[in-house]
Amino acid sequence: MSGVDQWTLIGVAQATFVGLAVAGCLTNRRRVLVTPLYALAALASLVMLIAALGALFASDAVVVSKRLLPVGLPDIKSHLRLDGLAAVFLVIVNIAAIAAALYGVGYDAHTPEPARVLAPFPLFLAGMNIVPLADDAFTFLVGWEFMSLASWLMVLAGHDREENRRAALVYLTMAAFGALALLMAFGALAGAGGGYSFDAMRAMTPSPGIATLAALALLLGAGSKAGLAPLHVWLPLAHPAAPSHVSALMSGAMTKVAIYALMRGLLELAGPPQWWWGGLLAVIGALTAALGALQSLTQTDTKTVLAFSTIENIGVIAAALGLAIAFRASGQPLEAGLALVAALFHALNHGLFKSLLFFGAGAVLHSTGTRELDRLGGLIHRLRWTAPLVLVGCIAISAVPPLNGFASEWLVFQSILDATSLQHWELKFTTPLIGALVALAAALAAASFVRFFGIAFLGRPRDAAAAQAHEVSPAMLAAMAGLAALCLAFGAWPGVPLEPLARVAAAAADPSGATTLLFVGGGDGHTAWLAVAPRGNLTAAYSGMMAALGLAALTGIAVGLASLVSGARARRGPAWDCGFPDPNPATQYTASSVGQPLRRIFGSVVLAARDRVDMPPAGDQQPATLTSTIRDPAWHFLFDPLIAAINRATERVNALQFLAIRVYLSLMFAALIGLLIIVAVAR
């Protein structure tokens, strides 16, 4: 496909998004519009996906195609650029977008005010498409703000609930802070000459001080959007507050756009990366991963569990990206490419299974009316199709074979093993720590999703709503089925998505283009389908197909042999439960009790988790109470003190509002004198 076609497609899709946003405002009055508008949004996203795939598979070389639009700031204009890295993230965003729009058809069919979502929804998609395409700071930030503000509007869609309003406020504050940090980063990189186009930034090599400043600002700006600790606090509030298909997009796609900003910024724009940027990012990522996984295990709200798990996965991606930067800085392009492939692949996979899981949580919410895990149970009997699809997502996110989550985590682990070859001993000695934290995060995530699925879908219904749940609409099921099929396919044939990703990573990790070595199957096209072999030979290999087919075959053999020797049909009877089955569903383990040992072991240190039992004195008829508390260290140590300090400062400054006019005049005069003195001294 030639460049012209792609830009036509992109133009058509973006124009459609803007038109849809206008039409979306009308849906409160004309509800018939809801389905066609979502369908058109899906179609426009499909067009974007085709354009991105076209760029990704265009030829062996990574195509760079540029466009200059006559809009924007007068002397900068608006630069667009479609290269491999942008194309990868466009694919991630648009796969999730297609599924979300399809899901929205079913999900939003009965909401009272659909315009609250349908008006910002297309703008949100447009913003997430513009950011990867932008090739100058201005266009980038416009897209970024579209993304932030449109999603903020959708977080506010349920504005009648107090916690949603609080979530939106926290989100808006963090988004503003992040945009400000990005603005600083671009300002530092553009320099005094004002070269705001990315090409100018690439051409310039900033001094180490400026580069470090820009890198740290990028880390703050993009990291806060991605959800890296300790700037993650808005994420578990805002993502669950939005409607479920928007939650899916925010977790599956928007956080990836932030990862894109980190990659583009740290690898390309900020000059030659320094090794400690990578080390810092890897350590922050590993800590974020473990903290996110642990917190997801302590939550009892379905969507909050998923939001914390997003933080975990972002941490894993950031750790791999950090290693890639460290490798690149110490002149190991091959290892850098591998780590970057791992980060990209995990970003792609997380986009798939996290969207799927949020859709699943939305289906549960839709059919039971609750997000509270402890009111669910037994949904596997009621949501017959949703349950297996969500199970696929749970197994994929738990990073076990044969699904895609394992394939990408396997690559991350291989990069961590490679990190032992780094030259900087500080980083080398940190590697086991990073490895242990990422492994802990993976194990805690598995525990968390056993708990999630086990409480919501298995066992007996804990509430009438769960007992009478109904299966969701075909559109919602289709969206989930499509994503689950991709999870299965990418798990069994990881070589297929890895081939283009490896090309992109090779180009990004080694701009000279010397790294042509494929990371898959040692450059041999036959093995690319069979195994992921990072060291260029098959000694350390993972074959998704062997795992998938082997498991299927061996399960078949086991079932066949067992029924051959046994033959007796299973009989149904009451549950055994050691002879004392209790019909009360409250005798089951709850979400909190399943997570209790891990909360006590890890949470007592990290989250200050405390369980207090208040036992009434003997003879008193009062019930005993158990109070369980946890706190997020980011709130406790960073944000609460910060908010308190700001409140104190504003109260002090408030006094300035009540001065006499002569005091104001003298203050202005003093300010003028002060400025003149500064000018005089500076001269």
Binding site: L458, M546, L551, P597
Partner: protein
């Protein structure tokens, strides 16, 4: 001997031998406690009886409950086939390295843990909750041990590890530390004393047994066979890394036969050692697991750090 045939043998023999190993451990434990104990073949008889019996399912058991024993068994079986037991050749690497083996065992754990919650009994919940706790504690230790081993042999593939360690890398402190870590992880994962007691009859102390309380008939047989296979798997894993001698490197019948005999010997030694260890130690409280598995993590981290230092000094 051709490779496909060898693959079939590597699939069938461990699954066939696994009950014997369990029988041996039970027998030795019984002798050490001054009892005569059941026959070595008793596990086979138990399995045959379970297979013949009519399975009874709880009224609200779902498809997941019925399928989980087979899925978990298949995951362990596949992991077992990727371990060089008595023969090892490059084509039998199966594309599954040590991380993938740990992952497959994780899959088996997830399926069993989910099945424990399916019927909605309190004991199933206890078992699941404890099982995922043990998994979360054991996995980091296992992974760092893999890092330490991979640092020595420069690969995560077990045939490579086995070969390189067979050729000899000298006596290393790190190897001993990694061995300690893996042994401790293995005891936790296979549900042996001091973490779990496979012979317990007190529900409140159960972990694995509590999860599978609702199973009967052929489903229970698959669960039991899976547990036996898991024990064989961990002993074989430890044997192929730390006692890599005698594994047939090429596919000729004589080497395979002697490899087989030697592997059975290694399993027997491991089984006896396990029985002796279990009779000399008491089971731990649930909230002391972190100490036990934390020690495993410490061993493996120390192993990795010592390797860095030795590389640094070189």
């Amino acid at each position: 001997m051709t490779d496909p045939l060898l693959l079939v043998v590597q699939l069938v023999v461990p699954a066939a031998v696994a009950p014997l190993l369990t029988g041996l451990v039970r027998k030795v434990k019984a002798r050490l406690l001054g009892r005569r104990g059941p026959s070595l073949l008793q596990p086979y008889r138990d399995l045959a009886r379970l297979f013949r019996k009519e399975p009874v399912l709880a009224e609200n058991a779902s498809w997941l409950f019925r399928g989980a024993p087979y899925g978990a068994f298949a995951a362990m079986w596949l992991a077992m086939s990727a371990i060089p037991t008595f023969a090892s050749s490059p084509t039998l690497g199966l594309g599954l390295d040590m991380i993938a083996i740990a992952g497959l065992l994780g899959l088996a754990r997830i399926l069993t843990a989910l099945a424990g919650m399916d019927v909605g009994t309190s004991f199933g919940g206890i078992g699941t909750s404890r099982e995922i706790t043990i998994g979360a504690l054991a996995e980091p230790a296992m992974f760092i041990a893999i890092i330490a081993l991979a640092l020595i042999v420069n690969s995560t593939a077990l045939p490579d590890m086995s070969r390189v360690l067979h050729e000899g890398v000298g006596l290393r402190v790190s190897l001993a530390l990694a061995l300690g870590a893996i042994v401790m992880v293995a005891m936790a994962e296979t549900g042996r004393i001091p973490i779990d007691n496979p012979a317990t009859h007190l529900e409140l102390t159960m972990v694995h047994e509590a999860m599978v309380l609702e199973y009967s008939g052929r489903h229970l047989a698959m669960v039991e066979l899976g547990a036996m296979l898991k024990l064989t798997l961990y002993l074989s894993l430890i044997a192929c890394i730390f006692v890599p001698w005698g594994i047939a490197r090429e596919a000729d019948a004589q080497a395979v036969a002697s490899g087989l005999a030697l592997w059975l010997g290694k399993l027997a030694v491991g089984g006896v050692a396990l029985a002796v260890f279990e009779t000399t130690i008491a089971k731990m409280r649930v909230f002391r697991y972190p100490e036990f598995l934390g020690a495993a993590l410490l061993f493996s981290v120390l192993g990795a750090i010592f390797l860095y230092i030795s590389q640094h000094l070189k």
